[in-house]
Amino acid sequence: MDLIKTVRTYVEKMITQTSGMKILLLDADTTPVVSVVTTQSTLLEKETYLVDRVDNRQRDKMKHLKCVCFVRPTADSIQALVDELRDPRYSKYYLFFSNTLKKSMIERLAEVDQHEVVQEVQEFFADYIAVNPDLFSLNMIAPRNPIYADTVHEWDPRALQRTTEGLMGVLLSLKRKPLIRYERMSAMAKKLGEELNYAMHQEPQLFDLQPADTPPILLLVDRRNDPVTPLLLQWTYQAMVHEILGINNGRVDMSGVPDIQPDLKEIVLSVDQDPFFRKFMFSNWGDLGASIKEYADEYQRQHKSTMRIESVQDMKRFVEEYPEFRKLSGNVSKHVTLVGELYRLQLAYKLLEVSELEQNLACNESHASDLRALEKMIADPKIREENKLRLTLLYALRYEKSGNNSIQQLVELLQHQGISDHKTTLIAAVLAFTGADQRQGDLFQNQDIFARGRNVLKGLKAKNVFTRHEPLLAQTLDQILKGRLKDVDYPFVQGGSRDRPQEVIVFFVGGATYAEARLVSQLNASTPGVRVVLGGTNVINSASFLDEIQDVADRVPGTGRLTRRPSAHRRSGNWR
């Protein structure tokens, strides 16, 4: 169940099936799918000398090339193909689709293929972006592909279709026919489960797989049940880069870094091709600093020996070691620059202080001291607006139900600091969409005395102040793997099983985080015989999570408005 390998095998199969010079045509959806698993040099090696978009109408006629085409079966892409086949530019066409084709689509393509250039029509189910070996994303981002319709309980119809197809792709590419479970409180997870179940039954021959001893589980969970994890600053490499700079299909935009070299303006962080990143993507900040120093030292050593050219011998050695050295040098400068930038931002925006308070808010209950610290932070001009807002959100989520909370005062304080009304309305919106009434389970473990006790114990166990918080998914996975996840809270869409599952695919409606990816990866490494794969409508950070909520809030009038001052005796319904 290695997602990167699976998708890469699909792509390689596509381009090695046909020999000779060829062009690879992709569409907007498949470009990132292919880009994250393979490289230009691999394509060149396989005689694929050109890559282009199928909807680029300005391609030249090149009859000496064959054409391998890999697209999603969307209306746009089919139309582009229809236009292409009417007036073929290349000698032969091999069509690959990332999902099931409707008969009408095949018919339409057959109709326009008057030149009989199409050699093959195949369905290859690489319909998701393989971010890590055990993490996939469907890249659905708020303003362009919103997942919510007008409320957070309803799917945008296009998004629902895309998600269903994406998950079909995951299941088919991994050859799994799972039992589907969903989170009780989430209407969207339920809807998705039903849709997917229906779709699976529509394609019986595709899902005609050998039944496993214990059926794998597809667990559909809702981001709104754990709004805290995406709001926290994580101190592990991959998660931290995504939170602070943003990773977009494995690429990081560094153009905002002061005095950046031109060739480092945009860098690639690939789990697959970058050995340093693969090794340290889940390392925490402290360890990372040490390893990057070691890495740089190694480079220095090699640099010295490589640069010392006194004899013919040295020259020979240089030539031999040069390619390796060059690769190393590129990689070292990339990571040193990246970590350097993170360090700079951490100092400039006092991220350590911010994070400490974040962790306090997420893990411990101590209202008076939290409030004092938060007020101080809000007044601090060095701390960025986003961080102030995030802290206030965490405060609001934790003390939402405690009578004497000061959310209102904090909002005023934020406004006093020049944060726009539009941004502060987010606090009410987050509470309305992901507040305690929307969640199931006890996220903060503060609702009964036993949970509180456990929480205190856990607090004592943790070593590092900045990594105390554990995503809710940790508990859920622990329970499901032990076969203890309650059917009432996580019902099956169809059927049921009391067995302990060996394989679990977790899918987050509303986006997964790299913190959860780390958790899953560590779980896979530490528990033999168990394999968990994580996915989401997107891989989010705090900014994209809040954007998504803001997007819905803007569409629904009144969500972000404060209705009345929170009063001590009202335990709920302060916010509408």
Binding site: T6, Y10, K13, M21, L26, T31, P32, T38, T39, Q40, S41, L44, E45, E47, Y49, L50, V51, D52, R53, N56, Q58, D60, M62, K63, H64, L65, L101, K103, I106, E107, L109, A110, E111, Q114, H115, E116, E120, V121, Q122, E123, F125, S173, K175, L206, N249, G250, R251, E266, V268, Q273, V312, M315, K316, V319, E320, Y322, P323, R326, K327, N331
Partner: protein, 351 residues
């Protein structure tokens, strides 16, 4: 890794749309004509080749670019290099067999093979370079070329360069390995030689002269050393030759793990460059329009000037003509008319 083949269904549909047989005919026809055409061209090219060894260039968008032949040549060359390298391997192995004094036999072979391989590498590299230049129009690796042919050529060149580089580095590694083993052996022979001379020197210390046998032995040994020395120098030279080739190739290959190795980056590049091209075209059109406009304006201005001149000249002509006309023809007949009119006008009023 589920896949589903929809080709049969597609073919069935295609057949049902009826452009099965009709197009088969037309296709066959085009095939025939194509073949005929191609045959002619090939013969032509062969003739030309026979005549002066240059390939003919046919400028047709449907035909593959000129360098495709070159590419095939390079591929063949690489195959031959590969086989030569394995032959050389065999020779190396035999040369290094212990206790073999007749290494001289293989030595020549090895030298020759090495020279051959190195020169094939150089040839290949030169040919690869030509792929870049023959797509031409001055597109270096940095030029943001919108032209697809050029992009294709550049990518082919990169691919070939990468492959050649891999091969050359493997070859170099082999040679270095062989060289090391050779040196070890040389050191051993030297030691042996030294020992044996010492021994013989001690033995005949009194006579302080070498026997003929000993002299022969020393001569043999020096010859061997010289030979080895020569061998080593040869190899070193070939290595440094390769190093040059290598450095040249390095500029052509893609650094792995960089943005340049990303597929989406390349697609974006194409888009920005096509967009750039479109913009340029728009601009060009704009300029053209502007020149057309300016031409029109110029023409209009000219016409206006012309008209003005005419206007200026016409009245003048009139004026020039009039003055002579006025003195020539007495104005008297006109005045009376006015007078008459006046008188006519006044006439009814006054009474």
């Amino acid at each position: 890794m589920t896949t589903r083949n929809r080709t049969p269904l597609f073919l069935q549909y295609r057949l049902s749309y009826g452009h099965g047989d009709s197009s088969h005919l037309s296709r066959a026809q085009t095939l025939v004509s194509d073949a005929a055409e191609r045959a002619g061209l090939m013969a032509n090219a062969a003739d030309m080749d026979g005549a002066d060894g240059t390939a003919t260039v046919i400028e047709m968008s449907v035909l593959p670019p000129q360098w495709v032949d070159l590419m095939e040549e390079i591929n063949e060359d690489m195959d031959s290099i590969r086989s030569k390298v394995s032959e050389l391997d065999e020779l190396h192995r035999r040369q290094l067999l212990p206790g073999l004094d007749e290494g001289v036999r293989y030595e020549r072979d090895i030298e020759r093979k090495q020279a051959e391989i190195t020169s094939s590498f150089r040839h290949c590299q030169q040919k690869i370079k030509r792929i870049g230049s023959s797509t031409g129009r001055g597109g270096g690796p940095d030029a943001a070329a919108a032209d697809e042919d050029e992009r294709l050529g550049r990518n082919v060149r990169t691919a070939l360069a990468t492959r050649l580089q891999e091969m050359s580095s493997a070859f170099r590694r082999k040679q270095t390995g062989f060289l090391q083993k050779l040196k070890q052996r040389e050191a051993r022979t030297k030691g042996l030689l030294f020992e044996s001379t010492l021994e013989s020197g001690e033995g005949d210390a009194a006579s302080s002269a070498f026997t003929k046998d000993q002299i022969a032995l020393v001569d043999d040994a020096t010859e061997a050393i010289q030979r080895r020395d020569h061998e080593i120098q040869e190899i070193s030279r070939s290595i440094s030759d390769l190093a040059n080739i290598f450095q040249d190739l390095q500029t052509m290959v893609i650094d792995q793990g960089t943005l340049l190795d990303r597929i989406d980056y390349h697609i974006e590049q194409v888009h920005t460059s096509t967009r750039g091209a479109v913009e340029e075209l728009d601009k060009a059109e704009h300029y053209q329009k502007r020149t057309r406009k300016t031409k029109l304006i110029l023409l209009l201005i000219l016409i206006i000037i012309g008209l003005i001149i005419i206007i200026i000249f016409k009245p003048r002509r009139g004026a020039v003509e009039e003055p002579p006309a006025t003195p020539a023809v007495p104005a008297t007949p006109e005045l009376p008319i006015a007078d008459r009119v006046l008188s006519l006008d006044i006439g009814p009023d006054v009474p």
